[in-house]
């Protein structure tokens, strides 16, 4: 076992003190599309360093919630506070700069770029030079590129993807792409990390690796994590608290052992094929 994790040195700002109070406060948030209300009056809070899971049947509004936290969508009503900022009407790139990173349910990597370049894109906010300096490749630019490349290499080592470093991401197998996407989010040096179905479509071994990465990120770096996941076994094993959504509404919000026995939750999963997953708890 590593004594001090090399990532803690590479990603210092993940361990900076958080503002007082919850990391995320969703207050009566509603998101309506033409025809569908994806999120209905949802309220929840996520505490610092918590590993918070959001579960629910397909179409329950889990991804929509992530889109609200990260600014891809703005709530129709209600308010959203993240890391002490009112992000209700903020743009995604502004929210990202407050220290929020995320992965996507359907991998959203830059397929035409190499693994290293994808991770370097995660470092975007930590590179402070402008286009003019970039063209002249000043000493400051070179130093910034090298320093950030070192951070990227630390993440490459952590995720054990050294051999794929210079490969185009589009050519990589699915499981590796999932890792690279986690790496790109991690490269942002976030204080809040949103993971949308991080182990979907993975085999047992890949799932276990991913679970270890997630725990390391929380335990070693102290990053607050919200995770959407269908693998109930993983959720029950990892999560500190579980929010259950059904048809856009909150039906439970408690520690895993309580949520597991909640009649409303069991009812929501009953009849659906998802029941099998609930029973498949490891």
């Amino acid at each position: 076992m590593a004594i001090t994790h090399p990532l803690t040195a590479a990603l210092p700002s993940t361990q900076e003190a958080l503002p007082d109070g919850p990391v995320v406060v969703a207050d009566d948030v509603t998101l309506a599309f033409a025809g569908v209300v994806a999120v209905k009056g949802v309220s929840y809070e996520v505490a610092p360093r918590e590993l918070f899971a959001i579960v629910g049947p397909n179409g329950a509004g889990k991804t929509s919630n992530f889109n609200l936290v990260s600014g891809v969508y703005q709530p129709t009503s209600g308010s959203m506070h993240v890391l002490g900022h009112d992000v209700t009407t903020m743009k995604p790139h502004e929210i990202a700069r407050t220290g929020v990173a995320r992965t996507f349910q359907n991998i959203e990597l830059f397929e035409n770029l190499t693994v290293v370049d994808n991770l370097m894109l995660g470092r975007q906010q930590h590179l402070h030079y402008g286009a003019g300096a970039a063209m002249l490749r000043t000493r400051r630019v070179q130093q910034a590129e090298v320093a950030n490349r070192e951070v990227v290499e630390a993440i490459v080592d952590f995720l054990d993807i050294q051999s794929h470093r210079d490969a185009l991401v589009g050519m990589l197998p699915y499981g590796v792409q999932k890792r690279v996407e986690l790496g790109r989010a991690l490269a942002m040096e976030p204080k809040l990390l949103l993971l949308d179905e991080p182990v979907a479509g993975m085999n047992l071994e890949e799932t276990e690796d991913m679970a270890r990465f997630i725990l390391d990120i929380r335990d070693e770096l102290g990053v607050t994590i919200i995770m959407v996941e269908h693998d109930m076994g993983l959720v029950m094993d990892l999560a500190d608290r579980v929010l259950v959504l059904d048809f856009g509404e909150v039906i439970a919000n408690d520690v895993p052992s309580v949520v597991q026995r909640d009649p409303a939750v069991i009812r929501a999963y009953l009849g659906g094929t998802d029941m099998a997953e609930l029973e498949g708890t490891r």
């Binding site: 990260s70 891809v72 995604p92 830059f110 975007q124 402008g130 970039a134 063209m135 590129e145």
Partner: protein, 377 residues
């Protein structure tokens, strides 16, 4: 400790522009050839190469905004015009018909051409960055049409259709670059000086572009092109990034416009039309989208195409004359210009269908083939 000389040992090495000694050697040979060209080339070919150098600058500019940042622009000709006329106004004298400042120092008017065109791009940018895909293409198309109209009617600037105005006059620190005759005792072809100066400009602008695309900004361009939502999630400001791409691209176009016209006697108001925009799109499609070396290759191919069309025509004419089923009296059915246009079209279709990565893609394939030789498959 003895280290293998060709091993990449640091991040700095890995990020270098020229990563291996082999590449450095090839690059050196290429540069020697490029600089020696005027010593053996005919004036005609040199004149085409001068256009080629200007094309390179313009093609790199278009590749930055369209190839890297993914913003399809049909408005490139407009920014070439802004650069060309900035240069002409600064360098040209005031006459009864046209106004000018009479400063023919190229180190003044060439950067100025880039700055005004860049500024124009920066001003148009905010409209363009709100649009995407076909809408952007239509708006930039409008830019060329409006620009074309303005040039045709603003005779104080252009000298009017059919008359034109004097092209920018290249004088480098008092030395007229378009002179003939011996330099340091050696007879050099006319426009050799202009060629060498242009070559240095092209090399500098190529290095600047290569630096840009391997930087934070260049990566942001590609992120915006491939997945704009993911780019925003990385903290990239879409509007700002597209605006930078437009501005830099337009500045390159402006310099290209000035370079393209400085080898001529006069600038014609009608030459900055949609066809010119398409010519640059053809260059990056043929050379390789999102590739700086590709931009260079594509620009050179398009530049020497007129020189290929002529000989090809004279080869094909007797062939066609022997075809008895062809109307014997008609001879070869196309003139040189038509043949040139046909070649453009054929090249474009061939590349889009067969090698969408352009000449660079072709090169990579050939290189990989030889690397694996004789076990190519």
């Amino acid at each position: 400790m003895a280290t293998r000389p060709r091993m990449i040992r640091s991040h700095r090495d890995a990020m270098a522009l020229v990563r291996t000694p082999t590449r450095a050697v090839w690059l050196g040979i290429l540069l020697v050839f490029a600089f020696a060209a005027p010593l053996w080339m005919s004036n005609g070919l040199l004149f085409l190469l001068l256009a080629g150098l200007a094309y390179i600058v313009g093609a790199i500019g278009l590749n930055l905004v369209s190839g890297y940042a993914g913003q399809l622009s049909l408005g490139h000709a407009f920014f070439l015009a802004v650069g060309a006329y900035t240069a002409a106004v600064i360098s040209g004298p005031s006459t009864q018909t046209t106004f000018g400042l009479g400063i023919n120092e190229i180190l003044v008017w060439l950067p100025a051409a880039g700055i005004t065109a860049g500024l124009a791009g920066f001003l148009v940018g905010p409209i363009a960055t709100r649009l995407r895909g076909l809408y952007l293409a239509i708006v930039t198309l409008g830019l060329v049409l409006v620009g074309d109209h303005v040039l045709r009617t603003w005779t104080g600037l252009t000298g009017g259709v059919g008359f034109g105005r004097q092209a920018p006059d290249p004088t480098l620190l008092g030395l007229d670059l378009s002179t003939t005759g011996p330099i340091l005792g050696v007879d050099v072809a006319r426009s050799a000086l202009l060629y060498w100066f242009s070559l240095v400009v092209v090399i500098l602008l190529t290095i600047l572009a290569l630096n840009l695309v391997r930087s934070r900004t260049g990566r942001a361009f590609q992120a915006v092109r491939d997945r704009d939502v993911a780019a925003e999630i990385m903290g990239i400001d879409l509007t700002r990034t597209k605006l930078i791409a437009f501005t830099v691209s337009s500045a390159y176009a402006g310099i290209a416009g000035a370079m393209l016209t400085m080898r001529l006697e006069t600038i014609e108001a009608t030459q900055f039309n949609l066809l010119l925009s398409f010519l640059f799109i053809a260059m990056i499609l043929i050379g390789g989208i999102a590739s700086i070396p590709g931009s260079i290759a594509g620009a050179l191919v398009i530049a020497i195409l007129p020189d290929i069309a002529g000989p090809l025509g004279s080869v094909l004419t007797p062939v066609f004359e022997t075809l008895t089923f062809w109307r014997a009296d008609a001879g070869f059915p196309l003139d040189e210009f038509q043949l040139e246009q046909l070649l453009y079209g054929a090249l474009l279709i061939a590349f889009v269908l067969l090698e969408p990565r352009g000449l660079i893609g072709l090169w990579v394939r050939v290189r990989n083939y030889w690397k694996a030789f004789p076990f190519s498959y």
